[in-house]
């Protein structure tokens, strides 16, 4: 049985603190992989000031837990941690952190990679990107999953 923790955070996500906690809790695992995702200050549209992640209280938490449980079923992992922001996330802040501990390095890599691909398209979150274009106008766009996100997801269910 893998130890699974999932967190939906309305306040700052501190990947460094989560990493420290995860590594301390898994001192017997041979391999530990982590991923941290941060809001970049530029996008194809212009300078990004923040993202807003709409969420569905209850359903969003459950979607994170379901994705983590599927990863634990699929890969030989000893522990998984998934933390995702919701609400307003400013440029430069962390938006997502995942970590996987395993006896085997390949399983740890694959579990973290799989978690990220599924979170991107299957976590119950809706992302809006807010900022200023090169021409100085404001933008505020809903982000839909891209073809790349969909292709990434298909790698796991060919």
């Amino acid at each position: 049985m893998a130890a699974i923790e999932t967190l939906l955070l309305q306040e700052a996500l501190d990947g460094q603190a989560l990493y420290a906690r995860f590594i301390a809790a898994n001192r017997l695992s041979g391999a530990l992989v982590s991923f941290s995702g941060r809001v970049r200050d530029t996008s194809a549209t212009g300078a990004v000031s923040h993202l807003y992640l709409d969420w569905y209280p209850g359903m969003t938490e459950r979607s994170l837990a379901d994705i983590a449980a599927a990863a634990a079923d699929r890969f030989e992992v000893e522990a998984l941690l998934v933390a995702h922001r919701c609400g307003e996330v400013r440029a430069g802040e962390e938006i997502v952190f995942v970590a996987a501990a395993s006896a085997h390095r390949r399983a740890a890599f694959e579990a973290a990679d799989y978690l990220m691909d599924r979170l991107k398209s299957e976590a119950a979150l809706w992302k809006r990107e807010v900022g200023t274009t090169l021409e100085g106008g404001g933008f505020d766009d809903w982000i839909e999953p891209t073809q790349k996100d969909s292709a990434d997801l298909k790698r796991w269910n060919p």
């Binding site: 995702g37 992640l53 709409d54 969420w55 569905y56 209850g58 359903m59 459950r62 979607s63 995702h84 938006i95 997502v96 990220m116 979170l119 991107k120 398209s121 299957e122 976590a123 119950a124 979150l125 809706w126 992302k127 809006r128 809903w142 982000i143 839909e144 999953p145 996100d149």
Partner: protein
């Protein structure tokens, strides 16, 4: 006999509303009928059509039709985008 209706993401934005209560009797108790009624009224102003609207009933995603019961929580939303 009412259902609670919630809107999320682009759908909430376009609909200009996040929450609504509707009488089940108005839609014959079917999810798709409820969706089409909502599209015809709330969504029409935002220019959303059915292909852009995903659904859940009591926080479980549903893709086809299903009968609704008194007190069900129905949500309409756009495609997820996390990560």
């Amino acid at each position: 006999m009412t259902v609670d209706i919630l809107f999320f993401g682009k759908v909430a934005d376009k609909a200009g509303i996040r929450q609504l209560k509707m009488e089940l009797s108005d839609t014959g108790g079917s999810l798709l009928a409820l969706r089409d009624k909502a599209l015809g009224t709330v969504f029409a102003a935002g220019g959303l059509d059915a292909t852009q609207v995903q659904m859940s009933v009591n926080q479980v995603r549903v893709t086809g039709d299903m009968p609704l019961s008194d007190g069900d929580e129905v949500a309409f939303f756009s495609a997820f985008s996390g990560g």
